[in-house]
């Protein structure tokens, strides 16, 4: 009996209080927007989509009233089309490449149209896929995030028998625990997981590969293994006071508000450290949950931020305060943090990434009141875990793969954040699906 993980999800969750920032189109809105699409040849929007969804075709189908065909067009390319519709940074991908931008006309809202079509299929219970004729081959997948889900779905369609191992109690990876709720809620992520389970994908949650089950066991029982384990836990800065109550990793905070009731009212002053999209997600979420003073602290300047400009603009509009060119040096307080002591920074010479590296300014220390600190300074790598796999080549903690997603250990394939270092859900979906074809070829060679 397939586990329905929606039943394991708490109904009282902070995320449900956060409004959808790109709500689903009504029927009228969808058709009006679909009719605006120029139906470009070899469209630029397709070319920038990592999963190469035939966007003009699915939009054309919305306009003609062929919603079923529209959803199929999307899901054929990207089985995670439902979550990607809401999670994708479309402003820098498909929507950003829409030719209307060249005309100074509002580009097509591709994400919202994709959401409209995929939600239609989900609501109507339309399952386009089924398990292919059984090949008798078993594939283990590590981690139930987007990469493994996309890989497993494709493997099942090919007739293989995928089994996903997930250490968390809920599957879906960051789609379930880490995506800002104004983009995607955990229940939607779990609905997508259920859709993939239906195709013939088995998921075992609460099982940590490397400790609960050994790699040797997997190698003995499975014909191939896919690593879709993502990244490690939140990185900390290694400054005094990090063990105080109220100092969290950013993903910890996001997971707490997505899966539980997060006591935002306990934190009148929040400081979020970092300049990337995770930092922007957290500051926006805290503001939406009613935290009055939310300050983002970033060691470089606004121009050097890796977070998207459209997210930054939204955060500013929502009342987030920014402290650029500052770095925490100590978390002050008794048992619970009460302030963050920062030092001002100045930009020096460009570093290896080409960005000017920040240098502390002597004697410039100041304190920001904070009862909550969230560190969005990146995630660690799973170097220790991957060290247990023989002959697995890593590069700065990332799993190295060839053109078909195969690692230096031929039985292992990999995709997603553990390979690309942390990109979008749609990249993981593309890499996972791509690896499935590599695994399929590998399994056939083995015959």
């Amino acid at each position: 009996m397939t586990q329905n993980y929606l039943e394991n999800l708490a109904t009282e969750r902070s995320e449900t209080a956060i409004t959808d920032y790109k709500p689903r189109f009504t029927d009228l809105q969808a058709v009006a927007e679909a009719n605006r699409c120029l139906y470009c040849h070899d469209a630029p929007c397709i070319q920038v989509c990592p999963t190469e969804i035939n966007i003009p075709e699915f939009i054309h189908r919305i306009a003609s009233g062929n919603l079923k065909g529209s959803a199929r067009t999307i899901l054929d390319s990207n089985i995670l089309g439902l979550s990607c519709a809401s999670v994708c940074p479309v402003e820098v991908l498909c929507v950003g490449s829409c030719v209307y931008n060249h005309m100074q006309i509002k580009p097509i809202e591709i994400g919202r149209l994709q959401r409209y079509a995929t939600e239609y299929a989900y609501e109507k219970g339309i399952q386009f896929y089924k398990k292919g004729p059984d090949t008798g081959k078993k594939v283990a997948l590590i981690g139930a995030g987007p990469a493994s889900l996309a890989c497993a779905a494709q493997l099942a369609i090919m007739g293989h028998n995928p089994v996903i191992f997930e250490r968390h109690t809920l599957p879906g990876g960051l789609n379930t625990t880490g995506v800002a709720p104004y983009k995607l809620r955990a229940d939607t992520s779990l609905r997508e997981v259920a859709y993939i389970q239906e195709i013939g994908v088995e998921i075992r949650t609460g099982v940590a590969v490397g400790s609960d089950v050994s790699f040797a066991d997997l190698e003995a029982q499975y014909d191939a293994i896919f690593i879709g384990a993502g990244l490690g836990p939140d990185s900390f800065l290694d400054v005094p006071g990090e063990d105080k109550e109220g100092v969290f990793g950013a993903l910890e905070v996001i997971e707490a508000l997505k899966l539980t009731q997060f006591p935002a009212e306990k934190y009148p002053n929040a400081v979020v450290v970092g300049g990337g999209n995770t930092a922007l997600d957290v500051v926006r979420e805290l503001r939406k949950l009613g935290v009055p003073n939310v300050t983002m602290v970033y060691r470089r300047g606004e121009a050097q931020m890796s977070g998207y400009a459209h997210e930054m603009a939204a955060a500013r509009q929502e009342g987030v305060q920014f402290q650029f060119l500052a770095l925490p040096v100590e978390y002050v307080g008794e048992a619970h943090v009460s302030a963050v002591r920062c030092v001002k920074m100045a930009l020096g010479e460009p570093d290896a990434s080409g960005r000017r590296s920040p240098e502390p300014v002597a004697g410039s220390e100041f304190e920001l009141p904070a009862n909550l600190v969230a560190l969005a300074t990146g995630q660690g790598k799973l170097t220790e875990l991957f060290g247990k796999i023989s002959q697995l080549e890593l590069n700065r903690g990332r799993v190295v793969v060839n053109a078909v997603g195969q690692t230096s250990n031929p039985k292992y394939f990999a995709g997603g954040d553990c390979v690309n270092g942390g990109k979008e859900v749609v990249n993981a979906a593309a890499e996972g699906k791509h690896a499935a074809f590599g695994i399929d070829a590998y399994l056939k060679e083995g015959n």
């Binding site: 058709v31 120029l38 070899d42 306009a63 030719v99 005309m103």
Partner: protein
């Protein structure tokens, strides 16, 4: 400021914008509101022996989200008593003496024509329009397009009307004929003072995909209707132009068929119409559209230096000719302005799949397509599909050859043989 006053065969109106005989002219109240909104004239909903209508009656053809690009109806002539119509007509004329009120008529026998014409003239109408065009319902009873399709019958009934009428007679022609000239000339022989065209085109507007019944739906069945609206304009322009350029045809034309704005009106006038009649656009948006029609036409006339409508009439139809008269040596080729291109490549796919394979893509660096101008046949398709105005222009190429039409070309071939 241009003079927009109109005179169609002696029927004067403040501007050339009339309401066609249709639901917007069903009652005196509507027509008075239309005149207040700015309409210059109105052709009354066709009068005759009152009929019974069905429900439903109209159908729309939408295209890519545009509502009613085409429209059809299976409604018949007036279903209100004649005495009420004539009473209202007299009242409209009394309150709007300077506006044109035309009585549209459709009856069967000579005696009936005599009677209804007398009542129309007595009510004060400025002209008559003989409805020889309606292609649904009434034609099954020997009226409407059944008359318009038979030049001899048309001529005869026209001559009756002219005999009985003291006001100008307009014959409304049906487009449901293979050629429009024979019925047009028949109207002239019957001494009509003007013609109006086109009436609606026999049509089925669509099919209900769930009930498997054509539209509009009437209790599980449907029937052919009359097609009109923006989509019929090209058919109407051709028919108006055919009459306007015909050497024997020399009575005024009231242009009808998809006129929705001042541009359409200007096109009809340039193709030989003296005025225009409008229906579908009013059924869609109401009488208020006439304000822009008046202002837009006036601005256009000022810009082009026309002082009166008459100066415009037929300026384009004189350049409307047989294919065989066209210059085979005139040559245009597509020219893409890369600075305006938005890289949608619709020109490429249209040319490649739908035309003459003369637009190509670069292998690298740019998505802007290029034209093989040596082989480009100058068909226009790329410039028609391009969403950016002015991006693809059709550039004239001087081939250094003089004018040569088809006949001359055949002569040249014969001489070479």
């Amino acid at each position: 400021m241009a003079d927009l006053t109109s005179n169609l065969a002696g029927i004067k109106s403040p501007n050339p914008f009339w309401l066609a005989s249709a639901p917007p002219t069903n009652s005196g109240d509507q027509i008075m509101r239309a005149f207040e909104a700015g309409w210059g004239g109105a052709v009354w909903k066709t009068l005759g022996d009152p009929i019974v209508n069905v429900s439903s009656r109209y159908g729309g053809m939408d295209y890519n989200g545009t509502k009613m690009a085409g429209f059809n109806n299976i409604e018949l002539i007036t279903d209100r008593p004649l005495e009420v119509n004539f009473k209202e007509m007299a009242e409209v004329k009394k309150r709007f003496p300077n506006h044109a009120v035309i009585s549209s008529l459709m009856v069967e026998t000579k005696a009936e024509w005599k009677e209804i014409i007398k009542r129309s003239v007595d009510a004060g109408c400025d002209g008559l329009e003989l409805n020889f065009g309606c292609p649904h319902g009434m034609c099954e009873r020997g009226m409407g397009s059944a008359v318009g399709q038979e030049p001899k019958v048309l001529e005869e009934i026209t001559s009756w009307a002219v005999e009985y009428s003291s006001v100008p007679v307009i014959v409304k022609l049906t487009p449901n004929v293979s050629e429009i000239v024979p019925p047009g000339l028949a109207a002239m022989r019957g001494k009509a003072h003007a013609v109006s065209l086109i009436n609606t085109i026999k049509s089925v507007i669509g099919v209900d995909l769930d009930r498997m019944v054509p539209l509009p739906y009437v209790g599980g069945k449907s029937s052919n209707g009359g097609y009109c609206g923006p989509a019929v304009k090209p058919i109407a322009l051709r028919m108006v132009g055919d009459l306007a350029r015909h050497p024997q045809f020399n009575i005024p034309i009231s242009g009808i068929g998809g006129v929705s704005n001042w541009r359409d009106a200007a096109e009809f006038i340039l193709m030989g119409a003296t005025n225009v009649q409008v229906c579908t656009a009013v059924m869609h948006y109401g009488f208020r559209i006439v304000e822009d029609m008046i202002e837009g036409l006036s601005n256009y006339m000022d810009e082009k230096g026309f002082k009166t409508i008459d100066e415009m009439v037929g300026l384009a139809s004189r350049n409307f000719t047989e294919w065989g008269e066209l210059d085979l040596n005139f040559k245009v080729v597509a020219d893409i302005d890369a600075s305006k291109c938005i890289e949608c490549q619709l020109c490429y796919i249209a040319c490649w799949d739908g035309a003459h394979q003369c637009i190509h893509l670069h292998e690298h660096d740019t998505r802007v397509p290029y034209v093989d101008q040596e082989h480009c046949v100058g068909c226009n398709l790329c410039s028609l599909v391009c969403p950016v105005p002015g991006c693809i222009s059709m550039k004239e190429i001087d081939q250094g050859k003089g004018f040569m039409n088809w006949k001359q070309y055949q002569e040249q071939l014969a001489a070479q043989a």
